[in-house]
């Protein structure tokens, strides 16, 4: 290769390199990214605990709002819950208390002045918050009285609930492990229970069937259904000491005395 050729090759390489063909990656720095590390999408947050959202960013410096100039590689995360702005975070963890029910959480990277990046950098998840436990199958059992018990007119029924929290009616439907108890007596709806206070019954004499069933906030049976039934017999004044009642005997005596009086009045005198 002569000197002229070598110069031409070097000039060509220089022109190509200068035009950016050989070094596109060095010039176009990757943009910021955002991902939500925890909780997982569609996670259930139990016990009414606040939701701790952990997010990760790349190529982005988290700074306090209004701290320094607005550049596309620094700022903070804006947190939106169910479409509404909730708060901002300049750390990788943000803790938000949420009521029972499904929630959509969206994070968005914004610059220090609060304006969105271009292109927009966001990440979203859905979570379900419940006052009940996040895991475990609900259970229900009747603690007292025993199956087949003979009870008086008034009685109380106590029960035990596991992995399920009783809450007042009106909550969002579809929330796992929270709701109330539907009481059915002899096949008909009797009442609904929203706490674990014993159920008070006032029943007429005879056999009865009591059924307790866990239902969700929407009034629907759980899947699978969770219920407990009890068969009892009622007889008034069970356990009462019955005093001797002479009323029928007095009544009979009154009849006889009345007849005696009538006879004494109207019977003819027998004079010897």
């Amino acid at each position: 290769m002569n000197r002229t050729t070598l110069i031409l090759v070097c000039v060509t390489i220089g022109l190509v390199g200068g035009s950016g063909i050989l070094a596109p990656n060095a010039r176009a720095a990757p943009g910021p990214t955002l991902s939500i590390v925890a909780p997982a999408n569609n996670a259930i947050v139990g016990n009414g605990s606040p939701v701790a959202i952990v997010f990760a960013v790349t190529n982005f410096n988290l700074t306090e709002p209004d701290a320094g100039p607005s550049t596309p590689d620094s700022g903070h995360a804006a947190v939106f819950v169910d479409g509404g702005f909730a708060e901002t975070s300049s750390t990788n963890t943000v803790v938000i208390p949420l009521p029972s029910g499904p929630h959509a959480i969206r994070l968005q990277l914004v610059m220090n002045n609060g304006s969105a990046l271009s292109p927009d950098v966001t990440a979203s998840i859905a979570v379900m918050v419940t006052r009940g436990p996040a895991t475990g199958a609900p259970g229900l059992s009747i603690a007292s009285p025993r199956e087949g018990a003979l009870l008086g007119t008034d009685s109380t029924v106590s029960f035990r609930v596991t992995n399920f929290v009783l809450v007042p009616a009106g909550g969002p439907a579809g929330v796992p492990n929270e709701g109330r108890i539907r009481v059915r007596l002899d096949g008909a709806n009797y009442s609904e229970l929203t706490d674990d206070a014993p159920l008070h019954l006032n029943l007429k004499d005879g056999p009865h069937t009591l059924t307790l069933e866990l239902i969700d906030n929407g009034g629907q049976s759980l899947t699978p259904a969770v219920a407990a039934s009890l068969h009892i017999s009622v007889r008034a004044l069970v356990g009462r000491v019955q005093p001797f009642d002479a009323t029928p005997y007095f009544a009979l005596a009154n009849v006889l005395l009345g007849l005696g009086i009538v006879a004494a009045i109207y019977r003819k005198l027998e004079v010897n």
Partner: protein
């Protein structure tokens, strides 16, 4: 000592000191310790647990910064609660955790900026026990009403006084110190586990009844040692005689008197007519 000897000794000492210091610096790698709570500490009254920790020889930085390079002297702290990822910490500041009743394990781990653990691993763990009850103190129980030997009707409210113990709704949560339910036992038969210090038993049988009030854990097992108290009271039966019996009995008495009077008058009349008949004959 000769000047030449000093000239050799001093640099040697300085070099050895420097070498020793250098070794010490190399040996002191990143460390992490949990300052509070103490291991197995009971966190009472349903309050949040405040986790305080210290980090040394390790710089806490936000992961994912522009131009960040990964190296083992900087990174962040990952927090796990009961094995589940909970927090990403880039500042040494107290962390408040609201946890349900029961035992929990909190673990902190130093990781590099790309999330990879250090080699060797640097982490610290602590066990805590959460409860809605007080963290310390011995539970006690007393029946305020009815009093022993009291005479009552068939439906009775029981006023129970509980100290150093929190009554909570039962929903299958794990046992926790000084937290649980109240159990009422009527004549040996369990009536109801309750979350309230006011019991109610209806339609109790006539005569003497003994009710035992017992504190139980969330799973309805008795405390250890047992915390219970009993009271025996009397339920009076129906009054005797009853109203209808009194009424019919009184009527019987009146009718009997009337009948006796009529019979006496009739006897006198018979005697009078007999005398008149004798005189006329």
């Amino acid at each position: 000592m000769a000047r030449g000897a000093w000239a050799i000794a001093v640099p040697l000492v300085l070099l050895s000191s420097l070498f020793g210091l250098t070794m010490e610096v190399r040996a002191a790698g990143p460390s992490l310790s949990i300052l509070s709570p103490a291991n197995d500490q009971v966190i009472g009254n349903g309050t949040a647990v405040i986790v305080r920790f210290a980090v040394s020889n390790f710089a806490l930085v936000q992961p994912g910064r522009v131009g960040q390079t990964v190296n083992p002297t900087e990174g962040h702290v990952d927090m796990y609660v009961d094995g589940a990822y909970s927090r990403l910490l880039t500042r040494v500041e107290p962390i408040s955790l609201s946890l349900p009743s029961g035992p929990h394990v909190i673990r902190l781990q130093l990781v590099q900026s790309d999330g990879s653990p250090l080699a060797p691993d640097v982490s610290a763990s602590v066990r805590v026990l959460m409860t809605h009850g007080p963290a310390v103190g011995t539970p006690t129980i007393a029946i305020v009403w009815p009093k022993p030997a009291a005479e009552t009707g068939h439906d009775v409210y029981f006023a129970i006084e509980v100290t150093n113990f929190s009554l909570v709704d039962a929903h299958g949560q794990p046992n926790a110190p000084n937290e649980g339910h109240l159990q009422l036992v009527l004549n040996g038969v369990i009536q109801e586990p309750r979350a309230y210090d006011l019991g109610f038993i209806v339609d109790m049988p006539d005569g003497d009844n003994t009710v035992t009030a017992r504190l139980v854990n969330n799973d309805n097992t008795p405390l250890s040692p047992d915390v219970s108290t009993s009271v025996t009271f009397h339920i009076a039966g129906a009054t005797n005689p009853i109203g209808s019996e009194q009424l019919t009995g009184s009527v019987s008495g009146i009718l009997a008197v009337i009948l006796v009077v009529l019979l006496i008058r009739r006897r006198k009349a018979v005697a009078r007519f007999s005398d008149q008949k004798d005189r006329t004959s």
